[in-house]
C-alpha cells in the first residue's frame, strides 16, 4: 500500500498541540478557492511542463510502458518552487510514493523530540487504510495521532481507524451548504455529520474556520456553526481555531482577497466565548 506524499515536516509547531511530525499526503477531493497549499491538490500526470522550467535541472522525464513520470533529484533542488508554480494541474513533481512503513521510518527519527504525528493533505481521509496502518505504528511507540481533514469523507465508515486516532482537526469551510459549495465545489452535509459524530466519540480535537471576508460572511457562518457546535461541548472539550486568510501560497486568481484584521477575529472570538467556548486560538 503506497500513497503519494507531498512532504514530511519533521518538527511542526502549527499542526496540533506540542511538537509533531506533520505528513502531507498528495491529492484533494474539493477545491477551496483560498487553498494555501494548492500544489497538494492534484496528482502529477507526467506532462513535463515543470521539467522544462526547473532552473537547476533537478527534474527529468522518464517514460515507460505505464506512461511518463517526472523524476526528482533532491540534491539539485534549491526549493525555488518554480515547478509548483508552473504546474497546470495543481500538483508537484517533488512527491514520492511511500508505504506507511516508509513514512513511519521518517517519523521515528524525531523521537523523543515529538509528542505525536499529524497527517494532513491534500485530503488524507482519501487514504483511510494507509492512515490506519501508519497510526498503528505510531501508537506502538507511544506517539499521539491526529488527522487534519476537510470532513467530506464519512468517519463513521472507519471505526478501526478511529480506534488508533486521538483526534481530528476538522475544517468547517462554511456553515451554510450553499456557501460551502461556492467556496469548495462540495456540499457540507458530511462535514457537519462528522463534527457531531466525532464529538460524540471524544475524537473532535479542533474545529477550524478560515475567515475570508471577500468570499463569504464569516461572522454569520461562525455564529451559526457555534449554535450547532455548542451542544456538542457536553461530550467533551474541543478547541476552536480562527484562521485569517492570507495570500501566501494562494493561487493567483484568488490571491487578492482581503486579509481580515486581528480585531475582526477577536470580535468572532468574543462572540464564541459568550456562547461557552473557552479554548479559542486566533492565527
Amino acid at each position: 500500500m503506497r500513497v503519494a506524499v507531498n512532504k514530511i515536516i519533521p518538527f511542526s509547531s502549527v499542526d496540533g498541540p506540542g511538537n509533531r511530525t506533520a505528513v502531507f499526503l498528495q491529492g484533494c477531493n474539493i477545491n477551496c478557492r483560498y487553498c494555501h497549499n494548492p500544489e497538494t491538490r492534484g496528482m502529477c500526470r507526467g506532462c513535463g511542463v515543470c521539467v522544462e522550467s526547473c532552473p537547476k535541472g533537478a527534474l527529468s522525464l522518464e517514460t515507460s510502458e505505464e506512461g511518463a513520470a517526472v523524476v526528482y533529484d533532491e540534491t539539485k533542488c534549491v526549493s525555488c518552487d518554480t515547478c509548483i508554480h508552473v504546474c497546470p494541474f495543481d500538483s508537484s513533481p517533488r512527491t514520492a510514493l511511500m508505504s506507511p512503513e516508509e513514512v513511519y521510518g521518517r517519523v521515528k527519527k524525531q523521537i523523543p523530540f515529538i509528542r505525536g504525528i499529524t497527517v494532513s493533505g491534500g485530503e488524507c481521509m482519501l487514504h483511510p487504510d494507509f492512515l490506519c496502518r501508519l497510526f498503528a505504528l505510531a501508537k506502538a511507540d507511544g506517539l499521539g495521532t491526529l488527522i487534519d481533514s476537510n470532513g467530506t469523507v464519512d468517519f463513521s465508515d472507519f471505526p478501526e481507524l478511529l480506534s488508533v486516532t486521538d483526534g481530528v482537526m476538522l475544517d468547517i469551510k462554511a456553515f451554510s451548504g450553499e456557501d460551502h459549495r461556492r467556496i469548495t465545489d462540495h456540499d457540507n452535509k458530511t462535514v457537519l455529520k462528522n463534527a457531531a459524530f466525532l464529538a460524540e466519540r471524544g475524537k473532535l480535537f479542533e474545529v477550524r474556520f478560515v475567515i475570508v471576508p471577500d468570499l463569504y460572511d464569516g461572522e454569520k457562518s461562525v455564529r451559526q456553526a457555534a449554535a450547532f457546535l455548542r451542544p456538542l461541548l457536553s461530550f467533551g472539550h474541543f478547541r476552536i481555531k480562527l484562521i485569517a486568510y492570507r495570500s501566501m501560497g494562494v493561487r493567483e486568481a484568488f490571491s487578492h482577497c482581503r486579509t481580515p484584521s486581528y480585531e475582526e477575529l477577536c470580535a468572532l472570538s468574543d462572540m464564541l466565548r459568550e456562547q461557552g467556548f473557552d479554548d479559542i486560538i486566533i492565527i
Binding site: S13, G18, N19, F113, R115
Partner: protein, 514 residues
C-alpha cells in the same frame, strides 16, 4: 616581579589616556578599563615556556586566549556566594542582621550584589532566587510581593550593568519563581541572565510553560538539564555567568580557552593535530592555569582577607577552574581541508565524528591533569564550551555549528549537539530563535526541551524572532541598545558593546529561525 620595557609602559599610558577621553564609555566602564591597564603592567606569574608564542600573537595565529583576566589575578574569575546563608545569618562585614521579611531579603540582596567581585567587577551569580525568596512570601500579600519583586528585578538591570549576572530558578515550581518570570516578561530587560533548572520529574508542565512564555518575551530563562548537572556536581551546583555549572559557595579561579581552529592551522594532518599539536597546546594552557591559580590561592591574599571567605559565604576548597575551548567546527573543517576531504562539521558524519574524537582527547587530557586546588572536582578542571568574545572572527563558540551553516532541519541540528553537550559540566549551550507562531503553541518548545534532555543535551536557550531582548552567545542584549551604541552613544550595560562586536563579527543576528 619581572621588569618590563619602557615601550610597553608608554603604550599603556597612551591606552589609559584614550580610555579617559572615550565618548562611548560610561564612568564605571572607564574605571574598570583603567584598572585593567594598571594590572597589565605586572609580570608576576610563573608562566610556562612556549605560552607567549600561543597567546601573545596576531589574532589569526592564536591558540590560547586568557579572556582578559589580567596579569595578576586579584580575585577568582567567577565567585558564587551562598546567598541563603547570608540571608539566614546576616553579615558582620556589611553590618546586616538576618533578613526577616521579603522587603529585607530583597534589600539585603541588592546590598550584597554591590560587594561580590568577579572578572567583570559585577557579580556573575545572583542566587537561586526562588528558593531565596519563597520563605519570605507569606510576609506580604500577593500584590505587594509582585510589585516588590518587579522593582527588585528592574533594580538589578539598572545597577548590575552586565548581563553575565546570572540568577537561577527551579526545578521545583514556586510562587516566587512564577512572580520572577511574570516580572521579567513585563520588564523585557537584558539583566539578569536566568536559568531554569529543569527536570520533568520535578518541574511541572505549567511552570515550565511559564518559562517558555517568558523566554519568548525576553530571551530567558534558558533551560538547564538539572539531572545531568546534579549527577556531575551534586545538588549544590549553580548556573553562573553565561551558562557555567559551578559549585555553590565556590566558583572558578580562572577560565582560559583553546582556540582549536588556530591549533588546527599549526597541524600538518589530523594525526599531527591529535598526537602532537593539540597535546602540546593543552599542556601549556593547563600549566598556565595552574600558575594563575597558584597566585590566587598562595599570593593574592583574596581567600584570607575578603569578607565573603571570612564569613563562610565562599570556601576556597569549593573552587575549581574551567578548561575552555572554542572553534571545534573550524578545527574539524580546517583539518578536513588539509587532508583534501570535503565534509563539514555538523553535516558530514565523518567530520562530526572527528569532532567527537577531538573532544575525547581533550576530556582524557583533563582527566589526567591534576591541580592541587581543585579538590571539589576531583583535582581536575571542568571542561567548558566557551561562547566566544566580540573580537572572534571565524571562530564558532565551543562546539556549535557555525551560524549560516545550521542544518536545514532542527532535528538534525539537535542530533549533532547531543554528541557534544555531555563533555561540559562547567557549561555549554545552544541558542534557537523561534518563529512567532510558537507563541500560540509553547508546548512545541517544551517538547523539544524534554526530548533534548533525554538525549543528554545540557542547556538550551530560545528567543522569539522579533523580540528586543535577544541572547547574543551566553549573555543578553537589547537590540535597541545595540543600535544606540552603534550610533556612537554611551549605553548602560557593558555587555552591549560585546554584543555589538558579536553582531558584526559573529553574525549572531543571522541565526536560523526555527
Amino acid at each position: 616581579m619581572r621588569e618590563i620595557s619602557m615601550e610597553r609602559v608608554e603604550k599603556t599610558r597612551e591606552e589609559i589616556l584614550s580610555i579617559i577621553k572615550s565618548a562611548e564609555l560610561t564612568h564605571e566602564q572607564k574605571v574598570t578599563n583603567l584598572a585593567n591597564q594598571a594590572d597589565s603592567l605586572l609580570e608576576v606569574l610563573d608562566v610556562p615556556e612556549g605560552l607567549d608564542g600561543l597567546l601573545n600573537v596576531p589574532q589569526e595565529d592564536k591558540c590560547i586566549c586568557d579572556l582578559f583576566e589580567g596579569h595578576a589575578p586579584v580575585r577568582p574569575r567567577y565567585i558564587v556566594p551562598d546567598y541563603a546563608k547570608f540571608l539566614r545569618e546576616g553579615s558582620a562585614f556589611l553590618q546586616l542582621p538576618p533578613a526577616q521579611d521579603l522587603q529585607e531579603a530583597l534589600d539585603f540582596l541588592l546590598i550584597m550584589y554591590r560587594h561580590v567581585p568577579s572578572v567583570t567587577n559585577f557579580p556573575v551569580y545572583l542566587g537561586q532566587l526562588d528558593d531565596l525568596l519563597e520563605p519570605y512570601m507569606d510576609t506580604v500579600d500577593e500584590a505587594s510581593a509582585k510589585k516588590m519583586i518587579k522593582m527588585f528585578m528592574r533594580h538589578i538591570d539598572r545597577t548590575v550593568l552586565d548581563s553575565f549576572a546570572h540568577a537561577d530558578i527551579g526545578p521545583s515550581p514556586s510562587r516566587a519563581g512564577a512572580l520572577i518570570m511574570e516580572a521579567e516578561s513585563e520588564l523585557e530587560d537584558a539583566v539578569p541572565n536566568i536559568s531554569l533548572k529543569y527536570d520533568p520529574e520535578i518541574t511541572d508542565d505549567a511552570f515550565a510553560l511559564l518559562a517558555v512564555d517568558c523566554a519568548l518575551h525576553c530571551a530567558k530563562p534558558s533551560f538547564a538539564n538539572h539531572r545531568m548537572f546534579v549527577k556531575e556536581l551534586t545538588e549544590d551546583y549553580v548556573l553562573a555567568s553565561c551558562y557555567n555549572g559551578l559549585p555553590l559557595a565556590g566558583g572558578s579561579y580562572t577560565l582560559c580557552r583553546l582556540i582549536l581552529g588556530g591549533i588546527a592551522k599549526r597541524a600538518k594532518s589530523i594525526e599531527d593535530f591529535k598526537n602532537k599539536q593539540l597535546p602540546y597546546v593543552m599542556d601549556i594552557m593547563a600549566r598556565y592555569m595552574d600558575a594563575r591559580i597558584k597566585f590566587e590561592v598562595e599570593e593574592s591574599g583574596f581567600f584570607e582577607n575578603n569578607f565573603l571567605a571570612k564569613e563562610g559565604l565562599i570556601q576556597r576548597d569549593r573552587f575549581t577552574a574551567m578548561f575552555g575551548l572554542v572553534g571545534l567546527a573550524e578545527a574539524v573543517n580546517i583539518l578536513f581541508e588539509k587532508e583534501g576531504r570535503s565534509g563539514r562539521f555538523g553535516h558530514d558524519e565523518a567530520a562530526t565524528q572527528l569532532g567527537v574524537e577531538i573532544m575525547d582527547i581533550i576530556w582524557d587530557f583533563n582527566e589526567s591533569h591534576v591541580n592541587p586546588y581543585c579538590e571539589i572536582t576531583g583535582g581536575h578542571f571542568l571542561l567548558h564550551a566557551q561562547v566566544g568574545i566580540a573580537e572572534d572572527v571565524g571562530i564558532s563558540p565551543g562546539t556549535r555549528i557555525p551560524i549560516g551553516e545550521e542544518p536545514e532541519e532542527l532535528i538534525d541540528h539537535l542530533l549533532v549537539l547531543s554528541k557534544f553537550h555531555r563533555y561540559f559540566p562547567s557549561g555549554t549551550g545552544d541558542i534557537f530563535p523561534i518563529d512567532l507562531t510558537v507563541h500560540k503553541n509553547p508546548e512545541y518548545v517544551l517538547d523539544i526541551v524534554k526530548g533534548a534532555f533525554q538525549k543528554e543535551l545540557r542547556y538550551l536557550s530560545f528567543y522569539s524572532g522579533d523580540s528586543d531582548v535577544i541572547r547574543v552567545t551566553g549573555y543578553l542584549v537589547k537590540r535597541s541598545e545595540l543600535e544606540k551604541l552603534d550610533s556612537g552613544q554611551a549605553v548602560l550595560q557593558d555587555t552591549t558593546a560585546l554584543g555589538l562586536g558579536a553582531a558584526k563579527n559573529g553574525h549572531i543576528l543571522e541565526r536560523k529561525v526555527r
